[in-house]
Structure formats: structure tokens, C-alpha cells
């Protein structure tokens, strides 16, 4: 009726790791795309250009805002790949004694 816990745990772990991998991959991809699909480095402070009226000097201030870059996307893909690979360490059918 009820399967022994020992036989269920690896399967559940396997599924959990794969779901987590999928979440990380989709989350990373969505985050990168929705926050600007920036193809450079990740920024966590964005430069804003201003001009001083009297001197015409152009200067920069920084706005605290996350703009994920390609490094963020690659890290998400790598983490998802790692979690997916780790799921294979849990056997679908563990050997019975």
C-alpha cells in the first residue's frame, strides 16, 4: 500500500533537483530578459549621465539597480546544469536487499 521511505527518497530527490534546475534556468533567463537582456557584464549600479549647466562638464552619478548581464545568464545556466547533473546521483530504482 505505502511504499517504504527508503525506496521513495531517491526518486523524490531526483525530481526535486530537476525541478530546482528548471526553476533556476527559467528564473535566470526571465530575469536576464525582463531586466534589459544586457549583453555585457552584470551591473548593480547603473551610470546616469548629467551635464553641469555652467561648465558643460558631463558627469556621472550611479543609480542602484540590477541589470543582469551575460555572466549572470551563464551562471544561471551553469547552476541549472550542475543541479540537473546532480539529480543523476539519485537512482530511479534503488537496489533491494
Amino acid at each position: 500500500m505505502v511504499a517504504p521511505i527508503a525506496s521513495l527518497r531517491p526518486t523524490r530527490m531526483r525530481t526535486a533537483f530537476r525541478l530546482l534546475a528548471m526553476t533556476v534556468l527559467l528564473g535566470g533567463l526571465s530575469c536576464w530578459f525582463l531586466l534589459g537582456a544586457h549583453r555585457g557584464w552584470t551591473k548593480n549600479q547603473v551610470p546616469i549621465q548629467h551635464t553641469d549647466e555652467i561648465t558643460s562638464i558631463q558627469y556621472v552619478t550611479y543609480e542602484q539597480r540590477l541589470v543582469p548581464g551575460l555572466d549572470f545568464l551563464l551562471a544561471s545556466i551553469g547552476l541549472a546544469g550542475g543541479l540537473s547533473a546532480a539529480s543523476f546521483f539519485f537512482n530511479r530504482n534503488p537496489p533491494h536487499p
Binding site: W41, D52, I54, I57, Y59, Y62
Partner: protein, 205 residues
């Protein structure tokens, strides 16, 4: 006779005083001053600013060639768009800000001085110190002398005083200043482009 002598002496004194160079303070009250830098890297150029600018420049519009002074940028003020990169930039492997806290340009002389109206172009020669290494450097500069503009800029027109704007652009090689010399050149270009646009103030009470 005595009155004539007094008048003559005061005239000479006043002309000497008027001809004296003015000292411009580059610690900007509006916090606009910064040196901008850019170096090419793997994904895109890494650009940033160094806002901790200070220094004094002695400038005489009647004798621009005699301009002298020193501009200092604090290494710990260098910032890029990514805080982890900023930490690396200021860290031990790159600029080592705790050990080398200042980047300094000491102006020795101005050559090829050409003045038109309030603007002067010249070639500045001086000593540039970065990462504890000092080298002679020549760079083209544009100086703009804005007479009586200080008060207007700080929204206090009753205060007199001048502004001196210095603009320049030059390129250095990081290996000349022992900054990760010969390392990571495939990821971070050895050439660093520096752009200077700063204003000095000389308020008059």
C-alpha cells in the same frame, strides 16, 4: 611730490597684485569633478569614474604658460558599474588602494599654448603617479577660464570669483604602472583611456 610717489607705488602694487596668478581649488563644492576611465574587456569595455578629485592649480590668464599645480584622485573613489569588479579594481591585485591611496598628476609646464577668447589649448607635461609608479607624461589639455562664474554656479550670485575648467584625454598602459603587467591581457586590455573634465573654483569674498 610725496602724493605722486604714493600714487605711483600703489599703481605698481595694484598691477603686481592683479597680475598674480589665481589659485583654483579642484575640490568641487557641487561634487561634479571626476576622472573617467575605460578599458576594453571580454564582453564590453569596463568604464568607471574616480570622483575623489582634489588639488590646487595656479593660473594666470595673462601668462597661461606659467600654469602649475597638482591634481589628486583618491584610488578608493574609483568605481565601476559592478560592485564586485570595483572591489577587485581597488584590491591588492590591481590598484591596491590601501597601499597606494592616491593617483596624482603634477603639472610641470605647459607648451604649445594657444589662447582664443576664454579657451586655451596646450600640451601639459608633468609627473603622473599611479600604483606607486611615477612617470613623465605629456597630454593635450583644454583650459577654459570663466570669469565671475563661481557665484552663479553655486546659486549665490553675490559671491564673486572665477572658474577654471580643465579637459583632457590620454591613454596609458597598465603594465607601465605595474598593474597586473602582462597578465589577463586577453580578458582586460592593457591600455586604459582616461578622460578628465574637472572644474576649479577661486571664490572672491
Amino acid at each position: 611730490m610725496i602724493m605722486k610717489k604714493i600714487l605711483l607705488v600703489s599703481l605698481v602694487l595694484s598691477s603686481v597684485l592683479n597680475a598674480a596668478p589665481t589659485s583654483f581649488d579642484f575640490k568641487d563644492p557641487k561634487g561634479v569633478n571626476a576622472i573617467q576611465f575605460s578599458l576594453d574587456s571580454l564582453l564590453e569595455p569596463i568604464s568607471g569614474t574616480g570622483s575623489g578629485v582634489s588639488g590646487l592649480v595656479s593660473f594666470d590668464p595673462a601668462n597661461v604658460g606659467a600654469t602649475s599645480g597638482k591634481i589628486v584622485v583618491t584610488t578608493a573613489s574609483l568605481t565601476v558599474s559592478n560592485s564586485m569588479m570595483t572591489d577587485h579594481l581597488r584590491g591588492e591585485k590591481w590598484l591596491n588602494a590601501p597601499v597606494h591611496p592616491e593617483i596624482v598628476f603634477e603639472l610641470v609646464k605647459l607648451d604649445n599654448v594657444q589662447t582664443s577668447g576664454t579657451t586655451t589649448t596646450a600640451t601639459a607635461t608633468g609627473k603622473f603617479t599611479l600604483h606607486g609608479v611615477t612617470k613623465n607624461l605629456s597630454l593635450p589639455l583644454k583650459l577654459t577660464h570663466l570669469t565671475g562664474a563661481f557665484g552663479k554656479r553655486v546659486n549665490k550670485p553675490e559671491i564673486g570669483g572665477d572658474l577654471l575648467v580643465i579637459r583632457g584625454e590620454f591613454t596609458i598602459n597598465r603594465s607601465d604602472y605595474a598593474i597586473m603587467a602582462g597578465q589577463m591581457e586577453d580578458k582586460v586590455n592593457p591600455e586604459i583611456k582616461l578622460t578628465l573634465a574637472i572644474v576649479g573654483s577661486a571664490p572672491k569674498a
